[in-house]
Symmetry: C2
Subunit: 441 residues, 2 copies
């Protein structure tokens, strides 16, 4: 049989140890699929001597010298499941420049400085694969970077963060507020002790950048992504969404469209939004992920599955390991980064969005006229208005009324300015809820 | 710029003309993605002079000599969208042996004699791609043949025929019978004048064979697939399903499991089945397709989109054209057929299934005991029994009762024999409905 393909594994936490288990348990199948056995050359960890349970691996393979391991001549493929910017960036750039192939799950690094990795891969001639970096086990990046290359992708809308989807699903199911739902998620292990990266949308924004880069053949980084988390979503927002036949999801949205000057551009954003219950993304519950892709010829497509967890992420990592190993044996590399379109990324203010606005207003004649005037001044067209006694289903609040307005599509800056001006009207007692609306309605 | 990659297009019907339109409309993007322009060398059609509307192509490219076109030295890639076994098989074998790359949407040929094509590709050293052959635009085969190669697929359950899904969705929505729903589908263009290939499950069976081959690294042909169509599905069956909180879908199912001798084997089948409304496949309506994949490490995955139509199919064809063109420019080929596992395909009788059986029985003591005895004799375990007055919601039928039984999983042969014996019991007035059950319940 052909001599083995040798892997350096960087990191041996939840994902890394699943990678080790799969390499061991499926060794014969992997060898048959690749045409050569896979062998672990070494495993870089932060500290030796930690109890790793019954991990089926020779304990002498562990080392704290990641860079030394990467530089070894007998290492063909480097698998990185450590995460974070440094030292991962230094390691991977080193590996790629030396001509090794790299498989990584590191979305933060790809979004922060994917260019450094792609450039190093081009220099060294190895492969850079990162299927596990977005939506865990769901085969998503390969379809985007290969299957849909005969088509034109117009929009990608995804639920790509399991923690926030769990929290929002819980708020929707029980009527709980954000803090209470977060507490439940933490207890059940769906949220980390410091949930900032998830609930503030940083994790989803990194994934949005990766998806947008692939969908639009354009380098998009984390800094290009408009980001809003879910910490401000209230039980009242969830109730408003329900009343409209909608649910609230944290969406990442990458869309093609013309900028203010009429040139083709893209906008990339992460924020909570209402989507109608009939939309395929609405029924994606718990910690599941799903990505909805709209392409010119293919029409709507959806990819659904587990977005995180040791085994699902390891599945994606190993799929990439098989691909890059085959390439090495065949002496070829896969198509490198495709960034030829180089479209401008436009600011959030120019992104076309729709708002659902719920106002608590004085119940007297002329209110709707005044409110409508504000929308008109900002050139925002209203789709629907619903007016009713204050407090919805709860007890009335005397002389107030609820006014629920859904707009047509308009530049986000115009919508935000409209809301700002509404807050200043004295007939508007309060702006009870402002949410963007996606996916029809 | 690099010299062009030259295509021979075989067939210029619904799909072929969309391929021509996309090649024209996206020429610049395709060239940038491939690294060389695509050029049509010729288009083989059955007869010249047919009005092809405003197809953006030089009319002198049309020819009736497909074989002559394929053999031309200046043809690099052959795209076949004619369908059927012959003459397509002869053409593609000729092209592959000559070292050309082939992109085909021909599921019938792949299921009938995929081996001939794979062998010819191995001989000639070109690529054989066929993403469009299953589930139209949905990127499905590439994920199966690449992304999930680090994992172990246990089961693939799909809705892969749009015509039958449209018909069953209509029956579910309106309570119509099969004939009436088929008529509507024909009027709306969802069913062909001769709907046999769709409604008898031949089309789905071909796709099931392709999916099973890829999922299990085993050659599976159309003859290995147990096939039942939807012509026998009645309005009463649909009502029974509804009463159980289910809907009826024509499913293709490829499952791994042990055969009677305990050896690892696969079973591949196409038949209508009840699935619970909560299952992700239950909400796949109209002519949409979706495929649900269960893998060891990745867990459940679903792929959803348009399964047919000119533009969606052309999108999948062009994605493949980009891939094989890149390979030709790089002087490489993609991994060839993976059939190393070579698992036995077991007969339908050994497949493990569950039945939902609705009986019209005499309403007297001892009936359930007699019925339960039949199940016990065939070693079939009962999951639930529901007994009620005859006729369900309709007017009672005097001395009869309805008996609805859902079994646990058992070999299909044992379940079929159980139903056969039930039909012979004199206390059983009639077997009102027999349906297999999939996806929990």
């Amino acid at each position: 049989m052909t001599s083995p393909v040798r892997l350096a594994l960087l990191g041996c936490g939840t994902v890394g140890s699943e990678v080790v288990r799969l390499l061991h348990g499926q060794a014969a199948d992997l060898a048959a699929r690749i045409g050569a056995p896979l062998e672990i050359a070494g495993i870089a960890v932060r500290r030796l001597g930690r109890d790793r349970g019954d991990l089926p691996v020779d304990p002498t393979l562990f080392t704290t010298d990641a860079l030394g391991l990467i530089k070894r001549d007998d290492v063909d493929v480097v698998v990185e499941v450590v995460g974070g910017i440094e030292p991962a960036r230094g390691w991977l750039v080193e590996a790629l420049r030396a001509g090794k192939s790299v498989v990584t799950a590191n979305k933060a690094l790809l979004a922060e400085d994917g260019a450094a990795l792609h450039d190093a891969a081009a220099e060294g001639g190895g492969d850079l694969y990162y299927e596990a970096s977005v939506a865990g086990a769901i085969p998503l990046l390969r379809p985007l970077r290969e299957s849909l290359h005969g088509d034109r992708i117009n929009r990608v809308t995804g639920i790509v963060n399991g923690t926030t989807n769990f929290i929002l699903s819980a708020m929707d199911a029980t009527g709980a507020g954000f803090a209470e739902a977060l507490e439940e998620a933490t207890e059940l292990g769906y949220a980390e002790a410091d949930p900032t990266a998830d609930v503030e949308g940083f994790d989803a924004a990194a994934k949005a950048a990766i998806l947008a880069s692939l969908a639009f053949h354009t380098r998009v980084g984390a800094a290009d992504v408009h980001r809003e988390g879910i910490t401000e979503v209230t039980a009242a927002d969830v109730a408003s969404a329900k009343a409209m036949g909608c649910t609230i999801k944290l969406l990442c949205i990458a869309a093609r469209g013309a900028d203010a000057a009429g040139r083709e551009a893209v906008s990339v954003r992460v924020h909570p939004a209402m989507i109608p219950l009939g939309h395929p993304l609405a029924s994606v519950g718990d910690a599941f992920n799903a990505v909805f892709v709209e392409a010119e010829a293919a029409g709507p497509l959806m990819f659904y599955g587990r977005g995180a967890g040791g085994a699902p992420t390891a599945s994606a990592v190993l799929g990439d390991v098989v691909a890059v190993s085959r390439n090495r044996l065949a002496g070829v590399r896969s198509p490198s980064e495709s960034a030829y379109a180089d479209l401008p990324v436009r600011p959030m203010g120019e992104a076309l969005t729709r708002y659902h606005i719920s106002l608590d207003v004085a119940d007297r004649p002329g209110v709707l006229e005044a409110v409508a005037g504000v929308f008109a001044r900002h050139d925002v067209s209203i789709a629907t208005v619903r007016q009713g006694p204050a407090g919805g289903g709860a007890a009335g609040r005397g002389e107030d009324a609820d006014l629920v307005i859904v707009t047509h599509v308009a530049p986000d800056a115009a919508l935000a300015a409209t809301v700002g001006e509404l807050r200043g009207l004295d007939i508007v007692r309060s702006v009870a809820s402002v949410l963007r609306v996606e996916g029809g309605l």
